[in-house]
């Protein structure tokens, strides 16, 4: 078995475990599973932390030439991206890249939410970038059955009766 095959089997094993966990979970668990939940929630939290400083300086935020307005802009965009990542999970990678970019730049104008917002934003952006969705086809459990991620062979799904993995 070469490395590629081993990697594929490892990936299938992880998907199988996720699928089994999901089978036991409730409605919220299924809803959470279909989107980059923690990436989105942490993005929203980092946006609120970053917005904390401009919100306290709102009196000067709209004076031309101040950078406090930029703090508002970056924090606001982060908030919107966090919410959108929960609504449109298919764009999680793009949102993640933009979240990381905005979090780093929020050092200017909002002091990065005392750096805490920046670090939270980088972590949440990374979670968004790393998140992937796989569709597992449960119809038949025989050979050739199973879902796929684009460009990859279909992963195997566990046999409903025996619980074994069929390639």
């Amino acid at each position: 078995m070469n490395r590629r095959e081993k990697r594929r089997l490892k990936r299938e094993e992880k998907l199988r475990k996720a699928y089994e966990r999901l089978a036991e979970g409730g409605r919220f668990a299924r809803w959470k599973n279909e989107r980059p939940f923690w990436g989105g929630v942490l993005s929203i939290l980092s946006a609120l932390v970053i917005l904390y400083i401009p919100l306290h300086l709102y009196a000067i935020a709209f004076i031309p030439g101040t950078f406090v307005f930029i703090g508002f802009l970056f924090g606001g965009l982060l908030l919107i991206l966090g919410i959108f990542s929960l609504i449109y999970p298919q764009f999680s990678t793009v949102f993640g890249v933009i979240v990381i970019f905005l979090s780093v730049l929020s050092i200017m104008g909002a002091l990065g939410g005392f750096l805490i917002g920046t670090i939270l934003g980088i972590v949440s952006g990374s979670l968004l970038v790393g998140w992937e969705r796989h569709e597992v086809d449960l119809s038949g459990f025989g050979p050739g059955a199973g879902g796929s991620r684009k460009g990859e062979p279909a992963p195997s799904v566990p046999d409903a009766g025996t619980g074994s993995l069929q390639a």
Partner: protein, 199 residues
């Protein structure tokens, strides 16, 4: 939960490799940005006001396009308090020391210090002060009185150049379009009581 045989199930998860690559890239970009600030010693638009008044001390300031006008502004204790607004197009400061006393949730007072060992260059300075104790000298000073409805315009001082030495200012607001602090040191100090300046 019932899983029908003709159902498609979405399984979402975070893949470690992609996560760590993105995380590393993000922190590397952050490091580069902070390094850029460190090399140039510059920060853009550092708003220090709005979080209570603080003390500014320096040995010498050479400024240009100086303007002083009366102002009503917010302090750490009041919504509106009379103060003066100083504006300068450009200023070079030697021996700058900014500090603020803060009470921690534990009840202990802490003094936060920002010192610049080298020369500080500021562009676009706006400062609101309630108390100024300093030696001042001006070049081309004019004091203008006007009769308008805006009290801030009714009495203003303007000077082409200003030199301030041995200054101590209670500052409630400080804005700088661009500031470059050479040899900046930020430190904290535990104190028994905050500094109270007799006005």
């Amino acid at each position: 939960m019932e899983m029908g045989r003709d159902q498609k199930l979405t399984v979402g998860r975070v893949w470690k490799k992609k996560f760590f690559i993105a995380l590393f890239t993000g922190f590397f970009s952050l490091f580069l940005l902070i390094a850029a600030f460190g090399f140039t010693g510059s920060a853009l638009a550092l708003p220090l006001g709005g979080i209570g008044d603080f003390i500014v001390e320096f040995d010498e300031l050479q400024g240009s396009d100086f303007e002083l006008l009366p102002h009503m502004g917010e302090t750490g204790n009041a919504d509106q308090s009379p103060m003066v607004r100083n504006k300068m197009g450009e200023a070079k400061i030697k021996g700058l020391h900014i500090y603020k006393d803060l009470k921690m949730p534990t009840g202990q007072w802490v003094r936060f210090h920002v010192r610049a060992e080298g020369e500080t260059t500021i562009k676009g300075l706006i400062q609101d002060a309630r108390f100024i104790h300093a030696n001042l000298s001006f070049e081309g000073l004019s004091i203008v009185e006007k009769n308008t409805e805006n009290f801030a315009e009714n009495w203003t001082q303007n000077a082409k150049k200003i030199t301030i030495t041995d200054a101590k200012l209670i500052t409630d607001y400080l804005f700088q379009s661009m500031v470059s602090l050479k040899g900046a040191k930020i430190s904290t100090e535990l104190i028994d009581q905050p500094e109270i300046i007799e006005q």
